[in-house]
Point group: C2
DNA sequence: TTAAGACCTATAGTAGCTAGAGGTTCAAGG
DNA sequence: CCTTGAACCTCTAGCTACTATAGGTCTTAA
């Protein structure tokens, strides 16, 4: 698949492109800057003007980002889309890799959820001295899931 | 609860503190810089020296971070721990808020996982032109979960 | 005394944007 | 044709939570 350039109005402003794709203009300029989008044509006054092809490309980018693909993964996917020789398996590999990452994040978050639930249900009210939550946070041994240690912080 | 300062060796170097808490020295200096840890005592030559109380405090911080609490949440928790008047309910509220966030992240990731699974299982091999993954990423309507749109990218 | 290793500060980099300042261009209405 | 206001431009800094580097200093054991 490649993005067709219809013989249609090649004069979409950055604001209109933004509205049609759900991006902000700043984000579009940023994508150009990091090379996800090529350099746009410009008016004599220097403003960017886009074609329908860019609407398609940006829609793809936004959608892939919504799916949680990293910018670098999106860049790879776009490179594949841009070259007609690409074998579908390469794309499949990226998607599967991403799927595995999502699955592992879910697992770790579930362990975290259980610990938090235990923590919260055991808190019976009172002053800080006897707070179960503080106690658990102060003492690793009160934890049941090893998964929690050494890293839920990168799960945000 | 407060962190007791035992009458023990008040001369722990940043490297030893790091090893005992599982932090890196850079991180410890960073925590000092942003005010999670107070300014450390220094040797005549200017190197930081810590007490057992700091080991406890940093252990608490690391553990809370492992639980996915943000730095700002940790700061709040520490403020509460530092003031003996704090009611346990305030701490409970922070923990519950965090729990709800974790739960919502799990939900969104599960929707994402299902979409990715559908995507991957439908990819039957072949060239880019007919790749189901690319097709789905190009076209919102092929998606079943609304949750995916407008945001899994902040789930990392 | 010397040399290795740990430490110091300051700065920049990571991801993926977002926000602001301060100035220019475009397009519609009069 | 002229004005006006919205949209656009570039450049820079900010966000989270660190991590990494450079270039220099201190400590400590042999």
């Amino acid at each position: 698949m490649s993005f067709p350039s219809y013989s249609s109005p090649q004069s979409i402003s950055i604001g209109h492109l933004a509205k049609r794709t759900g991006c902000k203009p700043e984000t579009i300029r940023y994508y150009e800057q990091i090379g996800l989008l090529g350099e746009a044509k410009r008016t004599e006054g220097g403003q960017r003007r886009y074609s329908e092809a860019t609407v398609q490309r940006l829609t793809f980018i936004r959608h892939a980002r919504d799916f949680g693909f990293s910018i670098e993964a999106v860049r790879e996917l776009l490179n594949m889309v841009d070259s007609p020789l690409t074998d579908c398996q390469q794309i499949d590999a990226i998607a599967k890799h991403h799927l595995r990452e999502v699955e592992s994040r879910i697992q770790r978050l579930e362990a975290l959820r259980e610990e938090l639930q235990r923590m919260v249900t055991q808190c019976s009210g009172g002053s800080v001295e006897s707070c179960r939550i503080i106690e658990v946070l102060s003492n690793h041994r009160l934890c049941q899931h090893q998964e929690v240690h050494g890293g839920a912080s990168d799960l945000r």
